[in-house]
């Protein structure tokens, strides 16, 4: 067949059409929208319920934080990449740890050896934390620590000690600990949330971290509830928001149950969401999220401080629409997603790199992500006025529709006993599975179009992009390091302090573990040892063959 035989002249002659007019959440869009769809204008930006943004001046006052996730290999390598990115225009840190760290396993644990340093930086000791932040002034750059409880408590303890070595007071620290027990691991499946630590103690320890931060770190955000990892399974925007808000209510109630005031902690809770490629719907989603949250805080929990009603959201653009096929196409996609995040009024953005379908970002693709954000900020003009799409008939109508659907789904979850109950009964997981099968079905059928995958696919495509490579001896190095570390410290002191931790869990189960954890880390106990001690104290064992 000649190449010219493949030309589809009908596209022009018959007119090229979309397969349908539904959003990713299944909202059927109308031919056009007018005043009847949006009879009332929303209040101005900075005014309750903050649909148009939490600040009156939005990006005129300050741009969003360019916060690219980074972390791989050894803490030295990650420190090098962090410095590189800050030099290239990144304005906030977003530190990712490898899965072994996020599951409380040292690099020399038999289950960890193949995964050490791959999906984030390997980190197990106070010394590692010191290396990771070498040369980074912790009072001048805000840091997000991507880690879940109970390990978040250990990481927080290490971070506080590193700050102390830098002579930075806890009150001067700026940043966020993710600290969510359910959503940090991809999925989030029931298995991933319970295989390495029991769920209820993990949530208790998350609350310990939050309480400690509230009392000692007034500029620090105590939790960042992650809807992105839920969304990346293929659930839709409505499910993303309803699931994460239902979960957030559980955390709010657990802090209220400790006798804390809503206005003491609500201003310090944050969300981590994603932006898929359905441009209008994603913008509307972020606006709807702000409105729903503001009402929940004020109407349901009686918040009086307007800041308690602010939904602050960090975005990582979704990887789902990115393709391994024709990877350069992802540069355009990520730019569109980033634009939606900005038009939706986000507080920080990680633009996902075009090489996502192959490996972690290279220096080159990492910088391109930062540049993409800078082009949107400085060249496109969209930041010159707050919420430029506010009052658009379709945006306001979609915002209303998403709000309505989210509230209805939250009601369903509430009637089933709340998010945690639904998570434990695996109702959430069943919803996720149905959604991911449906997403795949739509891709197969062509209802969902992905350029390069089910449209304009090129068989035998030779991909020629630079792909990130780990150092070949990185894992061995880390395993050697941790063994040496354990051999070179005062073992008796470590033993004593771990026993103290164990006793505290047993004898004072409601007490806050942070002070003891700080002591434990300071005596050079490793993340894995501390995690094992906690597991034992809670009567839990990790099972594997």
């Amino acid at each position: 067949m000649k190449a010219s035989d493949k030309i589809q002249y009908d596209r022009y002659l018959k007119g090229e059409k979309l397969p349908h007019f539904k959003t990713l959440s299944g909202i059927e869009m109308k031919e056009f929208y007018n005043r009847e769809d949006s009879p009332q204008d929303p209040p101005d930006p900075g005014i309750f319920p903050f649909t148009r943004g939490i600040y009156r001046d939005m990006y005129r006052g300050r741009l969003w934080t360019r916060r690219q996730q980074s972390g791989f290999g050894t803490p030295e390598e990650s420190n090098h990449r962090i410095h590189f990115l800050l030099n290239k225009g990144m304005t906030g840190l977003n530190i990712d740890f490898d899965i072994a760290t996020k599951l409380g396993l040292d690099p020399d644990h038999p289950l960890a050896e193949g995964d050490v340093g791959l999906q984030g930086t390997s980190l197990a000791t106070l010394e590692d934390m010191d290396t990771l932040f070498r040369g980074i002034p912790l009072d001048r750059v805000s840091t997000t620590l991507i880690v879940n409880p109970p390990y978040s408590a250990v990481i927080m303890a290490m971070y506080l000690l590193v700050a102390q070595r830098q002579r930075v007071e806890p009150s001067q620290l700026i940043g966020t600990i993710m600290n969510c027990a359910v959503t940090q691991l991809v999925g989030p499946t029931y298995q991933s949330g319970t295989h390495f630590f029991p769920l209820d103690p993990a949530i208790k320890i998350a609350s310990d971290v939050m309480e400690h931060c509230i009392h000692h770190m007034p500029r620090w955000n105590i939790i960042n509830i992650n809807s992105r990892n839920i969304r990346e399974t293929g659930v839709d925007a409505v499910q993303e928001v309803a699931f994460v808000f239902s979960l957030a209510l559980e955390y709010v109630r657990s802090l209220l149950a400790r006798g804390m005031d809503i206005d003491a902690f609500a201003p310090r809770m944050g969300f981590f969401a994603t932006v898929h490629i359905d441009f209008l719907e994603e913008i509307a989603k972020l606006r709807a999220m702000r409105r729903i949250w503001a009402h929940l805080m004020k109407d349901t929990f009686g918040a009086k401080n307007p800041r308690s009603c602010w939904l602050r959201v960090a975005i990582q653009t979704s990887s789902l629409p990115l393709t391994a096929q024709q990877p350069l196409n992802n540069i355009a996609r990520a730019a569109i997603q980033t634009l939606a995040a900005v038009l939706g009024g986000s507080q920080s953005v990680h633009t996902t790199s075009y090489d996502e379908g192959y490996a972690l970002p290279t220096e080159e693709s990492h910088v391109l992500a930062i540049r993409t954000q800078q082009m949107i900020a400085y060249e496109t003009g969209v930041c010159r006025t707050a919420d430029p799409l506010g009052g658009s008939y379709v945006i306001e109508k979609l915002t209303d529709e998403i709000e309505e659907r989210v509230l209805a789904l939250m009601e369903v979850i509430e009637k089933k006993g709340g998010f945690l109950e639904c998570f434990k009964s695996q109702w959430i997981e069943n919803q996720i599975n149905e959604a991911r099968y449906e997403y795949a079905r739509q891709l197969e059928s062509g209802e969902l179009v992905q350029i390069g995958v089910n449209l304009e696919r090129e068989e035998d495509e030779a991909v020629q992009i630079n792909i990130f490579r780990q150092e070949s001896d990185m894992q061995e190095k880390r395993i050697r390091y941790i063994k040496q570390y354990k051999g070179s410290r005062n073992g008796d002191k470590v033993k004593r302090v771990l026993e103290k931790l164990y006793r505290q869990v047993k004898e004072d189960p409601d007490g806050n573990l942070l002070p003891t954890l700080i002591e434990t880390v300071d005596e050079k106990a490793t993340l894995g040892e501390i995690s094992d001690t906690l597991r034992e104290a809670y009567g839990f064992k990790v099972h594997y063959i």
Binding site: I99, A100, L103, L105, P110, L111, A112, E113, G114, D115, L118, Q119, L185, V186, G187, T189, Q191, S192, H195, E232, T233, G234, T323, A324, Q325, G357, Y358, A359, L360, N433, R436, Y437, A440, E444, Q450, G452, V453, N454, A462, V463, I467, Q470, Q475, Y544, I545
Partner: protein, 131 residues
């Protein structure tokens, strides 16, 4: 003779990305294979043990964090050590192009990277279990 061909599917190591592997499991089950899904956090030793217990014809794993070479080498070694060379190993996930070649040279029967369509996977798996 057993009717349905039996496919053992599981995640090895600590990576929790299970979107693709769940979808592929469903596709294979819908296509008439008997699918045993082992979930997350399996070890190479555990998978090889399960192959014997379940009398599976083929193993499917996915890797999205760069751990594919490490674990595939281990699984293939254990299969050989236990006289199970006839059991095929297929792999899906985020695999750089150079490594696709390396995996195949190592003895992995098929590698499916993101965007592989359903029919291509079903056809390849059918060929492998019939062979």
């Amino acid at each position: 003779m057993r009717g349905k061909k039996r496919v053992l599917i599981g995640k090895i190591g600590l990576d929790g990305h299970d979107n693709g592997i769940r979808i592929v499991s469903k596709w294979l089950a819908d296509a008439g294979f008997e699918v045993v899904y082992l979930g997350l956090y399996n070890t190479p030793e555990g998978i090889v043990k399960a192959v014997v217990q379940e009398n599976a014809d083929l193993i499917g794993c996915s890797f999205l964090g760069g751990e594919h070479l490490f674990y595939c080498r281990k699984i293939l070694h254990l299969l050989r050590q236990n006289g199970l060379e006839d059991k095929k190993l297929i792999v899906g996930g985020v695999i750089p192009p150079d490594d696709v070649q390396t995996l195949k040279e190592m003895g992995v029967s098929a590698v499916f990277t993101p965007g592989t369509m359903r029919d291509a996977i079903i056809q390849k798996v059918s060929e492998l279990v019939e062979a």
